[in-house]
Every structure is written in C-alpha cells, then in structure tokens.
C-alpha cells in the first residue's frame, strides 16, 4: 500500500510522451502543475482548475482526462501524453494539428492543447464521427475566441483524413 504523508516530498515516476520522467513532489500536487512546473512541459494549459474548461486535458494510458482533476501521484507509473507528443520531431504537424491550421480553428490557442488531446483519444474510438458526435465531445471544452465553427470543420476534416489513410 502506497502511503505518503502530506508534507513528504516523494519521487513520482511516469512516462511522458514516451520518455521516463520523474520529479519530487507532494501528494496534493495536481498532474497539470506537475507537468508544467516539475517537468517543464508547458504545452498543457490550465484555465479553471475545477474541471470545466477542458484546456488541461491530457491522455492517461491513452484516455483523455482532465489533468487538473488528477493528482500527480495518481499518474505514478502510468503513461501520460500531452500536446507536445503530436508533431513529428522535425516539427511537422500531424493530421489533426494540420486540420486546425487549415480551418483557422484557433485564435489565441489557449484551449487548443486540450481539444487536440481529447480528439486524439476520441477519433481512435470513433473514426467516423458525425458533426453531432464532434459537438458532443467538444462540449467538454470552452473556447472563448473562435465560436467553435472552425474547430468543428477542422475535426471533420481530420476525421476524414485519418480514416482515409
């Protein structure tokens, strides 16, 4: 049984974007803060910190979850993927990112990392989503800039492109 006292700093090990990473932290540290402050992976954004805005969404063992509603210690030993994992090492955008660029699906970009990670999971489970399916999943994200139309067309295009490969 894992037991950590409240003021005890323990080393949390996990896999981040395919690499073994670790840092010392307290039990109360949120996964979102652990990624940003302890591991320096600032691609994951933090908006509301209570599960409403969706911009902190990451993949935990391949499943899209809110990193602000996850403790770092809960991700111990598990596989975490963030927006930093999407582009190729040379910076080439993946199909989902490229579709966002094509459709002007971002303005300030604050909400984008979370949306990209949600749909990285969702399009694997449902490769042929309808617009209604997309809007349903998108309801877990808030975007204050775009009005969502560009995001929906980008996601429809991305689904088509990934499906037709």
């Amino acid at each position: 049984m894992r037991r950590i006292a409240k003021d005890e700093r323990t080393r949390i090990r996990l896999t981040l974007n395919g690499r073994a990473r670790s840092a010392e932290t307290e039990p109360r540290t949120l996964l979102s803060d652990f990624l940003r402050y302890s591991l320096g992976a600032t691609g994951t954004h933090v908006g509301c910190e209570h599960g409403v805005c969706g911009c902190c969404t990451v993949l935990l063992d391949g499943t899209a979850v809110r990193s602000c509603l996850t403790l770092a210690v809960q991700a111990e030993g598990r596989d975490v993927r963030t927006v930093e994992s999407l582009a190729a090492p040379d910076g080439a955008l993946n199909a989902l990112q490229q579709a966002f660029q094509n459709h002007h699906a971002l303005q300030c970009g604050f909400c984008t990392p979370g949306i990209l990670m949600s749909f990285t999971d969702y399009l694997k489970r449902n490769p042929k989503p309808s617009e209604a399916d997309i809007r349903d999943v998108l309801s877990g994200h808030l975007c204050r800039c775009t009005g969502y139309a560009g995001i929906v067309s980008a996601l429809l295009e991305a689904a088509n492109r990934i499906e037709s490969r």
Binding site: R3, R28, G54, V65, Q74, D136
Partner: protein
C-alpha cells in the same frame, strides 16, 4: 486553486482501504475517479486529513452480470460501463442516462459509484439507481450491508454511509419491461441537470416516474399512465409536494414548471419505446 495538504494512501486491497477508513473515520475521503472530489479539493470545499485512493484496487474494477442484477464495482468508470457491450440490452435506462453524465473527458475517469456517493440531487446516475430500485453495497470492518438506493441517499450530498464504510459496488436490477425514457434540462449539455426525469413502464396502465432536481434526492412515484389528464394531475401533484428549491440555476417555480412539462413527454416516450 490548489488543494490543501493531505496524506495520501493507495491501498491495493479492499481490506486495506477499510482499515484506513476505520482508523481515520470522518477525516478520510475516498478518492475513486475524483471528478467531483478533486474539484471540491481545488476549491477547498473539502479538506480531508487523508485521501484513500481506491482506483487501483483490481477487485473493485469489475462489472458482474448476475442475471437479475448487474453489479458495478467502485473503480468502474462511467465510460467503461457505457462501452460495456450488454449495457443497452440489460440496462436500457442506464444506457440512456450515461451520455448526459458530465462530458466525454470526465466520464473517462469519473466512476458510477462515485456519482452515487457524491449524491448530487440532480445527478443522473443516482436517479437511475433510485428509479430502478437498485442497491448500494457498503463494507467496513464491522461487516457488509446492502442498502436500497432510496435508503442510501437521504438529502443533498447526504447519504447513509457511515464514516468507516466503503461503497464497494452498486447493483442495478435488470427489468423485463424494457420500455424506458429519460430527458433532462441543463444549461449546457454535460452540466448538472436543472431537472431530470426518467420513466419506466410498469406493466399495464402504470408508470414509475423518477425525478431529479426537485428536492434533495431523486424522488420516485408510481402513477397511472393510461389517462392523459390523470397523468398530468399526478405529475402536478408531485411537483407541488416536492416544492423544488431556488439556486443559481433556477427558481423552485421554474423547477416545478419544468417537471410538469417534461414528465408527460418522457412518459409518452417510454410508452412508445419498443412498443
């Protein structure tokens, strides 16, 4: 905001978890998916001494088909139950309500039993458990007991769980009459419902109506379904009895009005469903 400091324990067995609960009592909080609890910790609405993380107890991560009931363990996420291949066939009402529970991203981590434990008065899973007359399994070092959903949830965020008890599972009865329907009104899809209404046909001429968002807990009544005006009267009487409550999202009067408008539609849908 960030949570206040707390001790963290992550048992691998149910016995370890209930030993910690016996030791800490009301200073402990059980963490499963954390989709309500982590938000409450971040907002500092909850301030436990110790968090007991049960999410890695393998024995709790099971869906068991007992034939007449489906048992869902305390670590089973909402999305896992939603993806269970027999869900629509065995528990059509649960299949109907789950897409309304939070969002895709929160269902991936939020648990079925966690929603029941949190006991929000308008939340969908406690409503489904109540109208199906399901059961909650509570375990402590003192033993195991099973409570009917109606006896478990007592009021807003208040349940019959003792401080040393762990909810290990809930049981959803499998009904032979598969005619069910569900609707809710919420500010946006995935938010807590303002009013949620579920209906089950009960053989000839009667319908069981379950209502969330009108009082501190889901309310279930059997009413006549055959005669339109008698049904409407019964719904109106139910709305008047339950009164509703005022909060940020809606007034009591609006909640009563929503029930009176939604219930006949939902009853009608259940009536036609698979008919």
């Amino acid at each position: 905001m960030k949570p206040r400091p707390f001790d963290y324990v992550r048992p691998e067995m149910v016995d370890e978890a209930i030993a910690v609960l016996a030791e800490y009592g009301d200073e402990a909080r059980v963490l499963a998916g954390g989709q309500s609890l982590l938000a409450m910790l971040n907002l500092r609405l909850a301030d436990p001494t110790v968090l007991v993380d049960i999410s890695r107890i393998a024995a709790l991560d099971e869906i068991v088909d007992h034939g007449d009931t489906i048992e869902v363990g305390a670590a089973v996420t909402q999305s896992r139950l939603l993806a269970w291949p027999r869900l629509a066939e065995k528990l059509p009402l649960v299949a109907a309500v789950l897409p309304f529970v939070g969002h895709f991203q929160t269902r991936n981590k939020g648990t079925i039993c966690g929603s029941v434990a949190h006991a929000d008065p308008s939340s969908e899973i406690p409503l489904a458990l109540a109208i199906l007359d399901g059961k909650v399994v509570l375990r402590s070092q003192r033993g195991t007991r099973m409570l009917a959903a109606g006896a478990f949830q007592q009021d807003m965020l208040t349940t019959a769980r003792a401080n040393d008890e762990l909810i290990t599972a809930v049981h959803f009865p499998v009904l032979s009459d598969r005619r069910v329907a569900f609707r809710e009104v919420a500010r946006r899809h995935g938010d807590f419902a303002i009013v949620a209404v579920a209906a089950l046909m009960e053989g000839k001429g009667a319908v069981r109506l379950g209502v969330g968002g009108l009082s501190g807990r889901p309310e279930v009544r059997s009413i006549a379904s055959t005669n339109g005006s008698a049904t409407r009267d019964a719904v109106q009487q139910m709305a008047a009895e339950l009164e509703g409550y005022d909060d940020l999202h809606a007034s009591a009067a609006m909640r009563r009005d929503l029930l009176c408008r939604l219930a006949p539609v939902v009853i009608d849908e259940a009536f036609r469903c698979a008919a």
